[in-house]
């Protein structure tokens, strides 16, 4: 995955919620630069998004839309391949010392920023140092937690020293949040005019209407297929479908299978792709009602995950275990009660001394992503049959985020971001020092040790064994109830070709998109 998605309820994965997607402000922003032949000039690719990117500094960006736009303006030190493996980017894959503590990167020749200055090792050092500086308030600082120092011995070489081995470190460098920024441009001015070395160059922005980029003919991977690329903000998915049908928009990504189906036509091709992010019923073992592992196991057994998937997402997705990273994927059948077993759920309740039933609250959000409320309703109905009474609280997105961050809930419906590296996915939740451990509400010595071991070695096979253990630990204790991974639907007009949709629907290959012959 080009981006390591923030492992938490992702902000509006192209949320269907109308409220999330808004536009303001009037007329042109002096849009002289857009496609020469007016709107129909097909040297311009229009990509539809449903919300204005909130952030334009790579290390501060969390919204899907920000990441999409910035991935076209900036480049990262490493990239993701078609199977989400880490491959060379601005630099070749690093040489790693025997002890796993020193990473040496060689930068590609002749890469330039949009402002004409050469991209060299001082820029890389500057970027990483800035991210690690607490004053910067970078959310991506955690990716560099194990970094001791970054050095630039010569213009083409970057040397990163780690405090302790961290096998998940290189994954972070393919993340849009660690994109390289120029050291000679003040950060404040990057807020209004990003300067990067990506396939397209920031041109104009009309807030809440559009962001227009123009081609970067010197892009280091090759010449992008369009003269300009415009991200256009439309009200909601319905408006987006209409815009695709009328040809006003060339590409868009949906998370709703029905919307995807309505968008499909002779003029629009829709490609479903998998997602690393997972739908989950977060339980808080810290909450008094769920302290007893037997109660959690009862919930585990009372839920038919396929049913959740069918009712909430109309079957578009797969039942999942905790880890979704392709190389470390958990087996969804390796868990207590892989199929629903209400009798067993009642047994567990009896074991907990709660045969009379249990009552818990469940928070869900309307507005963060389209399936949340439906998942909650189905889970509520399923648990009821096992004697577990669920008090459903539907919150607006900010209310939900606030309650979630405070850990003020027994259980929560969440869509959490996945990653190609399982440590990135879960260390923040399930290690006792993790920044979201309070939210996750569960910790154990066993897990602490497993996660520590997991990043201490770079040996793939050894890591696979460790993360299978992690998975087992999480499922056997019914820490959370993992339900399913959904699909994303990449809609592309038949007038454009070359883009390769891959897991997570990142825009890493968007630069290859060109008018169809």
């Amino acid at each position: 995955m080009v981006r390591r998605m923030p492992a938490g309820p992702t902000r509006a994965v192209l949320a269907t919620a109308v409220v999330g997607a808004l536009a303001l402000a009037g007329c042109s922003g002096g849009s002289g630069g857009s496609g020469s032949g007016g709107g129909e000039g097909k040297d311009r690719l229009v990509f539809g998004i449903t919300a204005d990117p909130t952030q334009t500094i790579p290390w501060l960006s969390t919204s899907t839309q920000s990441i999409q736009v910035l991935s076209q303006v900036y480049s990262t030190l490493l990239n993701s391949g078609d199977n989400l493996e880490t491959v060379a980017g601005l630099a070749d894959l690093p040489e790693v010392s025997e002890d796993g503590l020193t990473y040496t990167f060689k930068l590609k020749d002749g890469v330039k920023f949009a402002n004409g200055s050469a991209l060299d090792s001082t820029d890389v050092k500057y970027t990483f140092d800035t991210i690690m500086n607490p004053e910067t308030k970078a959310t991506s600082a955690s990716y560099f937690a194990s970094v001791a120092s970054v050095d630039a011995p010569d213009p083409k070489t970057v040397v990163v020293k780690l405090k302790s081995p961290d096998a998940s470190f290189t994954t972070a460098l393919a993340n849009v949040n660690t994109s390289i920024v120029p050291s000679d441009v003040p950060v404040e001015s990057l807020t209004t005019t990003p300067v990067g070395s990506g396939p397209y160059v920031w041109d104009t922005r009309t807030p809440n209407q559009s962001i227009t980029l123009k081609v970067n003919p010197d892009y280091y991977q090759g010449r992008p297929g369009y003269q300009s690329l415009q991200f256009r903000i439309l009200g909601d998915e319905k408006a987006m479908v209409s815009a695709l049908q009328s040809g006003a928009v060339d590409m868009a990504i949906f998370d709703n299978p029905v919307t995807a189906k309505t968008a499909t036509s002779g003029k629009v091709k829709v490609t479903p792709v998998d997602q690393l992010s997972y739908h989950v019923l977060q339980l808080r073992a810290d909450a008094p009602a769920l302290k007893d592992v037997n109660v959690r196991l009862a919930i585990q057994c009372a839920i038919d995950r396929k049913q959740v998937l069918d009712t909430a997402a109309l079957g578009a997705g797969e039942v999942t275990g905790p880890i979704t990273s392709p190389a470390y994927k958990s087996n969804p059948d390796a868990r207590p009660c892989p199929t629903r077993d209400v009798a067993k759920a009642k047994d567990y309740l009896a074991k907990a001394g709660k045969s009379g039933g249990v009552s818990i609250n469940l928070i869900t959000s309307q507005g963060l992503y389209s399936t949340a409320v439906n998942e909650a309703q189905n889970i509520q109905a399923q648990l009821k049959e096992a004697g577990i009474d669920v008090k459903l609280e539907t919150l607006d997105s900010d209310g939900y985020v606030q309650r979630w961050l405070k850990g003020d809930f027994d259980s929560a419906i969440a869509l959490n971001g996945g990653s190609t590296d399982p440590n990135t996915m879960y260390a923040r939740y399930f290690t006792s020092k993790g920044s979201f451990n309070k939210v996750a509400g569960y910790r154990s010595d066993a897990l602490d040790k497993l996660f520590a071991d997991g990043i201490a070695t770079r040996d793939e096979n050894a890591r696979k064994v460790i993360y299978t253990q992690v998975s087992k630990e999480l499922e056997d204790n019914a820490v959370w109830i993992w339900t399913y991974t959904g699909k994303l639907f990449v809609a592309t007009s038949t007038g454009t070709s070359g883009f390769k949709a891959r897991t997570g629907a990142d825009l890493g290959t968007l630069w290859k998109a060109a008018p169809a012959k």
């Binding site: 923030p6 409220v19 959310t139 009200g235 607006d396 900010d398």
Partner: protein, 325 residues
């Protein structure tokens, strides 16, 4: 003479004072509503990643957004800015709220004017027609139509209509970049057509009802009966007496509706991606852009007060009774 003058001045001063109080009230209400809403600028821009920030980072972010100061201080520093012409800055896009508002306002005004025009074109003739023979087929028929216009959730019809046009005919002006009236009038009017029609139809209903009701009521008034008895020709009677007086409430209700529309037709602006003032506020609310919401709502309130005053003036001009008071 002097007494009259002082009385006028008195009324005038009172009016201005009331308007000012209204605006203060609106600004306090907006301010309070924003602080009571769950979440703040930090959770709005970082989402759940706010949880990954250290306490130091959080503190410095609060200082950056100016939400670390006491509420009263926050309010007055914002108000002070507004009084000196500084409406504040949107923290995320670094845009001046004044600029944003100056761009969004003409768009909303255009939409409001077009909608009112549609409403008057449908409502007034309809009302006159219905009143011309109360109880007749045309009366019942047009009443039924207006009932339907009142009863159908217009936003549903609007979405259905626009997606049908797009799917069937590939016609979808609102999918294009928004064009202002000055830049591309042809495209602009196409983009405004459906939203204005949708809003216009729903406003036409009260306009229709009011027209019909007041024509009927006025025809019963003594002076009309007297005029009729005196043999004033029906046409002249209709034009000079009935119409003129019947339209007074229509003016009032149109003014009121216009005032509401200036507040931004949030749902319609949302559905049709019209970058008007309503969306600016709604967006500000979801992004917790306090300055944007506070200043924009204040601007809306100022307009509302102005429209009210204007309606009043027009009302006084057409209604001799009110003028006399």
């Amino acid at each position: 003479m002097t007494a009259l003058l002082s009385l006028w001045r008195n009324t005038f001063v009172r009016r201005v004072l009331e308007a000012a109080l209204t605006l203060v009230g609106v600004s306090v209400l907006t301010f309070a509503v924003l602080r009571v809403l769950p979440g703040d600028q930090i959770t709005a821009s970082y989402g759940i990643e706010a949880g990954a920030l250290s306490p130091d980072q959080l503190a410095s972010l609060r200082a950056y957004y100016g939400i670390d100061r006491p509420l009263v201080a926050q309010y007055f520093s914002w108000l002070g800015g507004v009084l000196t012409g500084n409406l504040g800055v949107a923290t995320q896009s670094q845009q001046d709220v004044l600029d944003m508002t100056l761009r969004a306002l003409p768009i909303t005004m255009e939409l409001a004017v077009l909608s009112i025009v549609v409403a008057l074109l449908l409502g007034v003739p309809g009302g006159l027609l219905a009143a011309s023979r109360a109880g007749a087929l045309r009366d019942n028929g047009s009443q039924l139509l207006s009932l339907l216009a009142l009863s159908v959730p217009t936003f549903l019809v609007a979405t259905a209509l626009s997606s049908w046009l797009a799917n069937r005919f590939g016609y979808n002006p609102n999918g294009e970049e928004f064009a202002t009236l000055l830049r591309d009038p042809a495209l602009n009017l196409q983009q405004m057509a459906l939203p204005a029609l949708t809003l216009g139809v729903s406003i036409a209903a009260p306009v229709f009802q009011t027209t019909r009701a007041s024509v009927l009521a006025i025809r019963d008034e003594d002076y009309i009966r007297t005029a009729r008895a005196k043999g004033v020709p029906p046409r002249r009677l209709q034009a000079r007496h009935v119409l003129r007086n019947a339209l007074i409430p229509v003016v009032t209700i149109s003014g009121l509706q216009f005032g509401f529309l200036l507040g931004g037709a949030v749902v319609i602006e949302q559905i049709f991606s019209i970058p008007g003032i309503g969306r600016q506020v709604l967006l500000g609310m979801t992004q917790k852009e306090y300055a944007v919401v506070q200043s924009t709502v204040l601007v809306i309130a100022v307009l509302f007060v102005l429209v009210n005053l204007l309606t009043d003036v027009v009302y006084r001009l057409v209604d001799p009774q009110a003028r006399a008071q």
